[in-house]
């Protein structure tokens, strides 16, 4: 038996000590712990690494604080496009989706591509059809809307409109 372990990351945009309040820090830590608990519960019962990472990422996608799933940022056109991927180290099987909108958990759509098709990556309508065929839950636009992401889009567009250049590398983070 090998010692099991799990790690997660939860990107949420620029990390700025000046604006990250203690209250918000607590929420971020709790969001990460929720994801760790989801994956740990599977691993401690002898479950697979694939099931553990999928469960952990679903928890992060369900938390609006993080930039994925429910908390996804907006494109320059004010819509959301989500990407996700999974890879199984035992078999080298992999699945990925790009530019999709609708599935509550894009990571499950990626896993459906891996498990139910002969392909590695699907985009567009066929990716969504694979998710539907897998009976994954879909959500409408209001589920994915977060005011902070919308405000971030408006400030970025306003900055661009005035020709301002922000060289903060964290703005390029997903």
């Amino acid at each position: 038996m090998t010692r099991f372990s799990l790690a997660v990351h939860g990107g949420a945009g620029t990390i700025n000590k000046a604006t990250l309040t203690p209250e918000l820090e607590v929420r971020y830590h709790e969001g990460l712990r929720t994801a760790l608990r989801a994956g740990h519960a599977i691993l401690k019962d002898g479950g697979s690494a694939m099931d553990a990472v999928t469960a952990a990422v679903c928890a992060l996608e369900d938390e609006p604080l993080f930039n994925a799933g429910r908390g996804a940022v907006f494109t320059s056109e004010g819509v959301q496009e989500m990407d996700a991927a999974v890879m199984d180290g035992k078999t080298r099987e992999a699945g990925a989706v790009g530019g999709i909108f609708g599935p509550r958990n894009p990571i499950l759509a990626a896993r459906a591509v891996m498990e139910s098709t002969e392909h590695v990556m699907l985009i567009g309508p066929n990716a969504l059809q694979v998710a539907r065929n897998a009976d994954l839950p879909f959500e409408e636009a209001p589920y994915f809307f977060t005011q902070s992401r919308w405000d971030a889009l408006q400030s970025t567009l306003a900055m661009r409109a005035t020709g301002q250049v922000d060289d903060d590398p964290a703005r390029r983070h997903g």
Binding site: T2, A7, H9, G11, H29, A68, A85, D88, T156
Partner: protein, 135 residues
Amino acid sequence: TVGAVACDAQGNLAAATSTGGMTAKAPGRIGDTPIIGAGTYADNKTCAVSGTGHGEVFIRFTAAAEIAARMRHAGESLETAATHVVMEDLGKNDGSGGLIAVDAQGHIVMPFNCEGMYRGMVNENADFETFIYSE
């Protein structure tokens, strides 16, 4: 971007990554997240990796697969390989960001070259740890 890597009790590895991309990104732009070998990778013989950061640079350096390659061909440890890729390959080429990775013995590393990275880890002893900055 969010992600997870795990090593289960059988020594099997897996990686998962999901993202909404960058704020105000060009429609149709795809970063490293769904690109196998760039932002997501797993191979039982080396490691599982999930990245977050400036996606275009992660893609150009095939960041996740490069860590596995350094372990496989140069015999580097996970820590050495991951640190090199994040701090040298990415960090010196405008590739701000970081990653989480685990090897087949369950060792976890979480290097980053920016101000912070929301991250956490847990092992079989249920030692839950979460971090934001360089604690």
